[in-house]
Amino acid sequence: MNSLERIAAAAAFRKPDRVPVIGQVFGHAGTLAKVPVDEYVRDGETLARCQLEALDRYGYDAVFSVMDVSVETEAAGSILHYRRNQYPVVDRYVLEDDVDLAALVVPDPEHHGRMPEMLKALRILGCELGDEVLVVGCVVGPFTLTTQLLGTERALFMAVDDFPRLERVMDYATQVIIRFGEAQVRAGAHVPLVFDPSASPAVIPPRLFREFELPRLRRVFAAFAAAGAMSNWLHIAGPVKPILPFYPQAGVGIANFDYCVTPTEAQTQLQATCLAGNIKPLAFVDSTPAAISASAHELLQAFGDRGGFILSSGCEIPPESRPENVAAMVRAVGGGR
C-alpha cells in the first residue's frame, strides 16, 4: 500500500498494511529547511519545497498546504501583522468597525491574499506526489473564520447581543470557506482539512456549537464531498468530548482528537469515524524520543482491535519541535526513512 491507500483504508475501517501516521508538520517544515515561519507562510513554492523535504526526512503519510488561521480573513480584507519567524496575527479585523457586511466580497481563491500561494503549493505537491501520499489542504471552520473577521471577544459577545448579525457573518464565512476548499480540491488536495479551533468547547459552549456551527459544517463538508474530497477531516483541538456526538451529523469522516480526550472517550463517542491523534503537541518540543515512542505505542494498543485510526499529534507539531521526536512517532508504526 502507498500512503494514500493506507489512509483511505483506515478512513474506511479496512485493514491497512500498517497504521498510517501523519505528522501535523506545518511551520516545522520551514524550520527544518531554515526558512523562517513568516516566509514559509507567504510563498507557495517555498512551502511545497519544505513539505517535500520534510516528507523525505520523516517518511510519514501526508503533506500539508497549511499556512495559518489568518489566510481567509486576510483575503477578506483584514490586516495582518507579520513578524520574523512567527505565524501572522490579525492587526485589524475587517469587521471590527461595524463594517457593512454587504460591502464584503467572497474572496476569489485565485487572486486574493495568500490564497493563490496555498493553491500553488497544492499544485506542486499534487504534481510531485500524485496519488502516492495524502495531500492535505486547509480551511478554517465557520466560527473560527467568524472570530478572525470580528475578533474572538466580539464574536462571542455578539452571540448574545446580536445573534442575527453573528449568523450573517457566519453565513458569509461559510461561503468563503466553501469557495476556498473547492478550489483546493481542484488544485490537487485530496482532503481540505477543516481547522476549527474557535469551535472548541474551550471557546464556545456545546449548545452554541450545535445551534450555529454544526449546520454550517454540514454545508461545508457536503460541498467538499461534492467537489471530490476523499474524506472530510475535522480538526478541533482542546476538550472536545462534549461535541464529538455531533461529528457524524456534520459528515465528518476523519476526526482529530487532542491529548485532553482519551482514546476510550473518542472511540465510545465516534464508533464509525476514523480518529487521528493524540500525542501532546508540546511533547515534541520538550520530551524525548523514548517518551514519544511510549505514547505512540499506548495509542496503537488502544486502537489495536478497532482500526479506523491514524497515529498523529493532538494538534500542530510546533515549529520548534525536536526532529528526533517527530521521527520517533513515525518509527512507532514501522514507517520512516
Binding site: 512567527q86 496575527v89 462571542l156 452571540a159 448574545v160 471557546v203 459552549p205 462534549p242 511533547a283
Partner: protein, 210 residues
C-alpha cells in the same frame, strides 16, 4: 437594595441590570468594598462551582466578567482601587504571543474575586514585566499564552525575579500552550487549568499569609 439582586444580574451576564443595581446600592450608601464582598465575590464563587471541566462555559464567564467590569466602573469611576486586602496580581501575555483572551478572562475573574490587577498587556517583553513587578510588589505574576514558542521565556521569569530580589513573588501560568507542561518543567509555582484554578491557588496564598 440587596446585593443579592446584583449578584444574580452578574451571574445572568446582564450588564445593564448589574450596572443599575450597582448605582442603586451606592445611592443607598452601600460601600464599594461591601458590594464586592457581598455581591461580586459570591457571584464569582458560584460561577466557579458551575463551570467545571465537564461543564465549562467560557461565554457565561465572559458575560459575567463583562458585567463585573461595568460594575467596577460604577464603584471606582476613576479607575481600579489603589490597593486590595487580598493583594495585587500582575498579569501579561509574554512577548511573541498576542493571544490574550485567556488573560482577559483571568483579569475579570481576579477583579471579581477582590484582587487588584495590573495588566501588562499582550506581547509583553519580560524586562518590562519584571520592571512592573518591581514597582508594584505584587503577590503574584500570572502569564498565559496560546503558543508553545513562549515557553522558554516563561521558564526565565523566576530567575529574573530572583535577580531583582523578588523571589518571593509567585508565578502562575495558564493557557492552551503552557498548561500542557508541568510547573517544574516550566519553572513556575503553579499551572492552572482554568482562571478559577488560579484564584484557588492565590486564595490559598492569601490564607497562608494571614
Amino acid at each position: 437594595m440587596k446585593p443579592a439582586v446584583l449578584m444574580t444580574a452578574i451571574l445572568e451576564g446582564d450588564s445593564a441590570e448589574a450596572v443599575l443595581q450597582a448605582h442603586l446600592l451606592t445611592a443607598a450608601g452601600v460601600g464599594a468594598e461591601q458590594i464586592i464582598v457581598e455581591a461580586i465575590e459570591p457571584a464569582m464563587l458560584r460561577l466557579d462551582k458551575k463551570c467545571t471541566a465537564e461543564d465549562f462555559d467560557l461565554l457565561e464567564i465572559m458575560l459575567s466578567g463583562r458585567a463585573v467590569t461595568e460594575v467596577m466602573k460604577v464603584l471606582y469611576p476613576s479607575g481600579a482601587p489603589a490597593s486590595s486586602d487580598k493583594g495585587t496580581v500582575v498579569i501579561a501575555t509574554p512577548e511573541g504571543d498576542v493571544h490574550d483572551l485567556g488573560k482577559g478572562i483571568f483579569k475579570m475573574v481576579l477583579a471579581g474575586s477582590g484582587y487588584r490587577v495590573v495588566d501588562c498587556g499582550k506581547d509583553c517583553p519580560l524586562d518590562r514585566l519584571i520592571d512592573v513587578v518591581d514597582t508594584e510588589r505584587p503577590l503574584a505574576v500570572g502569564v498565559s499564552g496560546l503558543l508553545t514558542t513562549i515557553t522558554p521565556q516563561v521558564r526565565k521569569i523566576k530567575g529574573m525575579l530572583a535577580d531583582r530580589g523578588l523571589q518571593h513573588v509567585r508565578v502562575l501560568a495558564g493557557g492552551a500552550a503552557l498548561k500542557q507542561s508541568s510547573a517544574s518543567a516550566l519553572n513556575v509555582d503553579f499551572i492552572g487549568e482554568s482562571a478559577f484554578d488560579g484564584i484557588h491557588y492565590l486564595n490559598g496564598l492569601v490564607r497562608a499569609e494571614r
